[in-house]
């Protein structure tokens, strides 16, 4: 079950009068009076690429299901919702959508029948997508995707919280409603990167902190909070800014490129929810696009006040793990027996195959959720170019108690120069109770 951030519904503050118009108004689309002509193969292929950029498949396809037929369960505090069928089946899918309907769903969160989509659909990001990309994507979904007759599952959110009109108000407040505008002061590569990151890539959905209404607090680089790292659904999505500790400060543009292309580099391996983004989306992006993303991200300044003293490797820790002192350092023994075989006594991992724990954001960030979650539950398989990873992180929930796990993570977050905060038993217990182990299956979601 995918858990998302939909605490929004109960939180939205509904203004009193004057809201009805907003709530019932159907936003306009530049395609309102356009009849889409029969698309070229080229356009369909471009649309497929845009679908990769937007990672539509990750949410609209289940591992056992047909491509884009929906049905993926997303847990919310109010009950589960299910992703919808976006195949061109006219009855159960979006086969009857006009290009304008499609556009309104993508960029404004309004379905063809006028109901408001939950912002699990990242339309606050997609609204930056160009008309051209929308058109291509439409062509792909109409002509490049097999229609599947599969009825949508109703949401399990109960009345009155299942009312959707307040979302329209939410949209007014929290979306920009405007296609990405290139910045003249920056070069084409930067602008392409910014477009991909802010628009179809919707990186901010996970990496930008959310406000009280679960809105992303920033939607572009104009705010220092944009992509500055966020907690979502039991994972800490690290800063993608130049913060040396919790962000990409110590990564080169090539490192960022390799990470998105191969799922790994010398600094780390994708894990947690990033595995899905890599497996289904980033690895399929063109080299130019990936380099553009890297270039853009590396332009986002660090926040030294928040990030704190810059991590530096401390060799002395490896000695702590030598047999004769390990017993005296809490957690070191557990580390030696369970973690060191892969991540090393030196915390440096094994080349790019097994990630280091020294100097990584999950060990340095104040938020320990990712460290706890991946230790409790392991990580899904990383599948690069159709080939599953040689090494997977196993779940330790059956092997380590809350106390042991807190202790070993506190150890790892303070070893090798790491200076992450201590992990408490309660934090581990809390995550344990509402998370499940990652599947070991090699899941490749098909798009055709």
């Amino acid at each position: 079950m995918k858990k998302l951030f939909l605490t929004v519904l109960g939180v939205v503050v509904v203004g009193a009068a004057g809201t009805a118009w907003i709530a019932t108004h159907t936003p306009s689309s530049p395609f309102d009076n356009v009849t889409a002509s029969a698309p070229s193969e080229d356009l369909i292929a471009r649309g497929e690429y845009v679908a990769r950029l937007g990672d539509c498949v990750a949410c609209h396809t289940t591992p056992d299901g047909k491509a884009f037929a929906g049905g993926l369960e997303m847990g919310t505090p109010l009950g589960s919702i299910f992703t919808t069928n976006i195949t061109p089946d006219p009855e159960t899918g979006i086969g009857n959508y006009s290009l304008a309907d499609f556009d309104r769903a993508l960029r404004h969160g309004v379905a063809a029948d006028g109901h408001r989509l939950y912002p699990a659909m990242p339309y606050p990001s997609y609204d930056k997508m160009t008309d051209g990309d929308i058109e291509a994507l439409y062509a792909y979904f109409m002509e490049g995707v097999e229609p599947v007759s599969q009825a949508n599952k109703p949401t399990e959110i109960e009345e009155p919280l299942n009312m959707r009109w307040p979302l329209a108000l939410w949209n007014v407040v929290f979306t920009e409603g405007e296609v990405y505008q290139a910045k003249a002061s920056e070069d084409g590569m930067w602008n392409r990167g910014a477009y991909l990151v802010q628009g179809p890539g919707h990186c901010g959905s996970c990496h930008t902190p959310r406000g009280p209404a679960m809105n992303e607090v920033a939607l572009d680089e104009s705010s220092p909070e944009y992509l500055s790292g966020a907690l979502l659904d039991g994972w800490y999505a690290p800063s993608l800014r130049n913060d040396p500790n919790i962000g990409l400060g110590r990564w080169s543009e090539e490192d960022v490129y390799a990470y998105l292309k191969n799922g790994r580099n010398e600094h780390g391996v994708v894990f947690g929810s990033m595995v899905e983004a890599f497996n289904n989306s980033t690895q399929f992006m063109s080299d130019d696009d990936l380099m553009s993303i890297a270039h853009y991200l590396k332009s986002l300044p660090a926040d030294p006040d928040y990030d704190g003293p810059v991590w530096a490797y401390d060799e002395a820790t490896a000695d702590d793990l030598s047999r004769d002192v390990a017993d005296k350092v809490p957690g070191a023994r557990t580390y030696a027996a369970n973690c060191a075989f892969c991540h090393g006594r030196d915390g440096l991992g094994q080349n790019e195959w097994i990630p280091p724990l020294a100097g990584v954001s999950s060990m340095l960030a104040p938020e320990a959720e990712s460290a706890i979650n991946v230790t409790l539950n392991g990580s899904p398989r990383v599948i690069a170019n159709g080939v599953p990873d040689s090494y997977r992180m196993p779940p330790y929930r059956e092997h380590l108690s809350d106390a042991q796990m807190a202790e070993v993570l506190t150890y790892a977050r303070s070893a090798w120069g790491n200076h992450g905060d201590a992990v408490s038993e309660e934090e581990v217990a809390a995550l344990r109770s509402h998370t499940d182990p990652a599947s070991i299956d090699v899941i490749i979601l098909q798009m055709r």
């Binding site: 047999r323 017993d327 023994r333 075989f341 892969c342 094994q350 040689s390 196993p394």
Partner: protein, 151 residues
Amino acid sequence: MKLTINNETYDVDADGDTPLLWVIRDNLGMTGTKYGCGLAQCGACSVMVDGVVTRSCVTPIDAVEGQEITTIEAIENDPVGKRVVEKWVEHQVPQCGYCQSGQVMAATALLKEIENPTEDDVEAAMVNLCRCGTYNAIHAAVKDLAEGGAS
């Protein structure tokens, strides 16, 4: 890729992320090192790399290039390893024996690092699984070695 195993250098044709275990077993034909879980859970695949006990099933070969790898086949060439094997025989440790290459490796690595390990040291180092439950015998053998010194 060149690997140094039991004082011999082998030129190995395998991808860098191939686990050392399978290169030892399949490419080099040394089957004393066992596959049990492939996930660093059981320890049947233990070898020594520069004297440190290492689970070869989670060790990509490109991470150990140039390091000294010792497998069970050469354990008796090591004076400490030889003593460990002698004690394993004296205490009649193995049953099915499948995990024992790894157990002997773990004990040898421990004793090479600490000549007279304490009870705690032993418990911390001897963490390999044994489904036959030879744990009492392993413990007795290692205790014997610890008290008598490994040399």
